[in-house]
Structures are given as C-alpha cells and as structure tokens.
Subunit: 322 residues, 2 copies
C-alpha cells in the first residue's frame, strides 16, 4: 500500500514517517497487515532529513491546490494522514489563511480522495480546541463542540466533513482530537500552546523560556511518541469498530503548568526551572483558557488507544531524544 | 434600515417579507425600533407577487456569487435573513450542489457582510437536521450535533461559521434551528419532510397524497406563521441576551404522523384522510428517521420565542389561508 501524509515535513509528520518506515506495515481495509511500499509527503517545503529513503516521495506544494493533491493520491494510496494545518495562534491572527488551509485544504484533500473512487482510509488530526466556552470540569465523549477559536471552529468543520464523506462512502475517515503535544523539539511556533514545549525544552538547553500563562493553567497533553502511536492505532481500527461516530477524544494527561514545571525540577533540578520567566500574554491566555484541561476519554480507552505515563517521563523522553 | 433576505422569493421568504412590510420596523443594534426603508431579496428567480411594492428590491442571482451578494449588502443593510438553501432531499441526492449552496453560499454571504465592516445582524435559518444518530428521546439545548445527512452537516458548518464570524466581530449572528414547517402551501418540494405538508394540503384540496413514512414517525413541527415570528424574534434579540452560544433550538410541537392525520380528520372529516395513501420510500424514511422528533427548548422559551398551539390549528390556519 501507499501512504500519503500531508504536513509530512513538520515535526509530527516526520515522526510519523519514521515510525511507519520502521514498522513497515499498516492494516488494510480487509483487516490484514499490508506492507508499506511508498510514503508520499505533501508539505510547503521538503524535509531534507527524510530525503534519502527510496520509499519516500516528497511533493512540495500547497494543500489548497487541487492538482497537487490529485497527483499525490492514486488508487494504491489506501492510507492518508492529514496533518497539514495552520496552527491556533496563526489561525486567530490571520482568519483567511486559517479558513483557506484548515477548511478549504481539508475539503480539497477529501475531494481528491473521493475522486479516485477507492475509499481510502483517512486519519484527520483534529484538536481538543474543538471544545471551548462553558465546559464541564471534565470533558466527556458526549460533550458538545463549542469551539471559541477560529482554529477550533476550522477543525470542527473538518470533522463534520470527514464524517459526511465517510457516511456517503467517499472515504473511510476518522478524526482524532489531539491533546497538546509536548515536548516538541526545535523552535517555538505560532501555536498558542507553543509554550507547553518551550518551558521544558529551552531550560533543558540552557536557554531562557517565557511562560505566557498562569501556573494554575490546566492542560490536556500527550507525548510525541504516544501521539504517533495513536495516529497509527486510529488508522488501524476497523470501520465497524468506529460506527457512525468518526471523532475520538484521544487519551492524554491532565496537568497544570505548575505540575509540568515541578516535573522539570524533579528531573533536571532547580537550575532548569529558574530559566522560566513568567510574563502573561493576554492574547495567548485568552485562547488557551478556552481549551479543556481534563477529559474522561472512555471511548478511546475502549478502542485500545495507547496512553502516556507521568509527565516526568515526557521530560526524560525529550532529554533522551536530543 | 435596510433588510436583506436570501431565498426571499421562496415560500418562507415571501411570508417573512410580507410580515416585515406589515410591521414596518425591526430592532436596531442600539435596542430601539427602526423603520424598514427597503427589503432586498436575493433569489434564483424573482417573486412576481412581491414586485409592486416600492420598498422591495429583487435581485435574481446565486448566493454562491460574491458580486451578487456584495451588491446586495451595503452599510445601511443592518438586518440579514439567510434562508437560501438546497433542501434536504436534494442535498442528499446532489452532494456537490448542497456543499456549494449550503456551505459556500453561506460563507460568501458572511464574507460580503464582513467586507463592509459594519457588523450587520445575521439570522441564519438552520435546521433540526443538525441532530441525528443515537439521540436521546428528547433533545436538549446541550445535545451534541451529530448530523446524519449532508443537509444537516452543511447546516452545522453554517452554524460554526456564524458563531466564529460573530466572535471575531465580523457580524452579529444568530442561528435558529427550524423544526419542520407545515402546512406549506403550493407544491411538494425536494425536502425529505415535504410530505409533512403534503398529507394535510393535498387532501384538503381534494387531491391524493402519498405518505412515504410510517404512521408512528414522530416529528418536531412549527407553523408558517410561528416560524416567521421566530425569525423576527431571533433578529430582535440583543447580542448580550445570546452571549457566546449563537445557536437556538426553536420551540415546536412534537407530533406523530398519526396524530397529524387524526387532527386532519377532526377538522376536515374522514373524506380528507381517505385521500392519504401509505407507501414507504426508504430514501425518505432513512433521512427523516435520523431527525429528532421531540425537544425540550428551554433556552428558546427563556428567550421569549413564540410557540404554536395544537396541530388542529395548523390545519385550520392552512384552510383559512387558501
């Protein structure tokens, strides 16, 4: 089988690509494991780190461009991971860009998948940002979507499209609502949640990190290793196991920023945590405060999605991977 | 003030137009009643019945055409009623047409409203079809949207857009989830719910009507008179009264098809009900069965939306209006 990963040159896309190359197989629609022959990556720029493998084809292009996506999906493309997105802070700052990439891009991809008529399995990376506003203390699988950010609205629209394209038999879709992924390597990005990696990563690298939210802010987080395993698990689930509800709240860890910092101090000492400066940014606080900090992901557990352990392990995993 | 009504040449649009002409005023953003200077109607074809009034301007055009909508919205257009839509049965049969009119058309309208920068009040006619699947016996204001028809998905996307455009300050939007409107005059249409008018209207006009669903099918219905009053009430609500939740389940009447037929018999006798032929249509049954038949519209009641009486009155109102 062939695999398509949009946003495949990003951090998560590269991690998923490496994982898929290593495991070498995914479950097919008939329930049997099938070897991965090729992974096609569509992203704005190529990832040089992935260039050498003969099983990888990189297409530099825009997910809003129909011709690009049609060239990337053929009838052997039975697995599609849709990770390409404009992140939360950027979607809030540039409304039209967010609508274009997050809504039109998703629709263009789904139409490209539909055009071949072979009903590929599509894993859509949605987000806990589809929840917002007057939320219960713990979000349940039955909690209504009331997003209070453009990013969350755009992801909710993507979920509705995935659901209806699936119901119509155009694709076999599944939307996974990703918790905040931390600790991400590299540089800060325009996601409002960027600090959730920064306050761990920068101090461990001897750099100062500015935390723009209050210590009491509660977040629903997942490690990079576990989120990749969840994407694969979400793909490998049978259509029957999901039924007509195609959206799943992924398991995560509910931690306050204070608890994240305490874990950093336990693992790397006070000299690390002293590099965190506290400087509230109302623009980021407003977005992050609308997101839920705690879930009861009963359905994901029943479906067998993997879960993280303690946050100390998040810190150690980042240190080990540097 | 100026008023824009998309789909204004349709049955509901004409009824709303007549009501607005008669009342002559709507509430402005400052809470005071303001005289209606002009009503602009955008629809595929003009309504000859409305042509004579000098307060009405009709534009024959497509809601997916940006230039048409931009010509219809000026900075004096402070009230917009968005009724134009591809109905449920047609949206299910022609997926791309439904996406185009119901999603792209709504977005094009909202962008035209946003372009002027004057934050008009927009009343979006959504539908109880945003609910579906495994529903509780009585739908509450907190029940999640899980539409199981393309029409319902497209209306749910419209609601998300109305909500986010409002939050961003582009418009002052409100989405009203309309029950099935009955008894509509005229001919059957491509709505899966068309029979809910047909089984009353045709027998009263001495014609045979085919009922495509089971007698036990429960529906959430509203009369044409009341839905027009709800559209006006939804417009006149202050932005503060709605808060950040911009979607309202309208009040309705929960009746089975059997109860509707019994009302027809009470009002018009057995000779009317004998004109109903029972012939199940799986395509219609499948859509109608996903829609909820009963609500507890607590929020709409608290907000003061008007309500219907008994279904016998629906029958009498149609007879009086012929």
């Amino acid at each position: 089988m062939r695999v398509l990963i949009t946003g495949g040159a990003g951090f998560l896309g590269q991690a998923l690509t490496r994982d898929l190359l290593q495991r070498g197989r995914l479950r097919g629609a008939d329930g049997s494991d099938q070897p991965i022959e090729r992974i096609t990556i569509v992203d704005a720029a190529a990832a040089p780190q992935l260039r050498d493998t003969d099983r990888i084809m990189q297409i530099a292009g825009d997910v809003t461009d129909r011709a690009t996506l049609e060239s990337a999906v053929d009838t052997d493309t039975s697995a599609v991971f849709h990770l390409a997105a404009v992140v939360s802070g950027q979607a809030e700052a540039d409304f039209d860009l967010g609508m274009s990439v997050n809504v039109d891009g998703t629709r263009t991809l789904l139409d490209a998948c539909r055009a071949r008529g072979h009903r590929p399995r599509v894993v859509f990376a949605s987000s806990v940002a589809v929840f917002g506003g007057d939320l219960p203390p713990v979000v349940l699988d039955t909690t209504p979507l009331t997003p209070q950010s453009s990013y969350g609205v755009q992801k909710a629209i993507g979920e509705l499209l995935v659901s209806d394209y699936t119901r119509k038999g155009f694709i076999d879709g599944r939307s996974l609502r990703l918790p905040t992924v931390t600790v991400r390597p590299g540089k800060p990005n325009a996601a409002a949640s960027s600090f959730a990696s920064g306050i761990i990563r920068e101090p461990l690298n001897g750099e100062v990190s500015i935390c723009p939210v209050d210590r009491a802010t509660r977040m629903w987080v997942i490690s990079p290793e576990t989120v990749v395993r969840c994407l694969v698990a979400g793909h490998d689930l049978s259509s029957e196991a999901l039924g007509h509800d195609r959206s799943v709240n992924l398991p995560g860890l509910s931690v306050t920023v204070d608890e994240m910092v305490a874990a950093l101090e336990r693992v790397a000492g006070r000299e690390a945590t002293e590099r965190i400066h506290w400087q509230p940014d109302p623009r980021i606080v407003r977005l992050v405060d609308t997101w839920p900090g705690s879930f009861e992901p009963a359905r994901a557990r029943a479906l067998g999605f993997p879960e993280d352990g303690a946050f100390d392990d998040f810190v150690r995993a980042y240190m080990a991977g540097r």
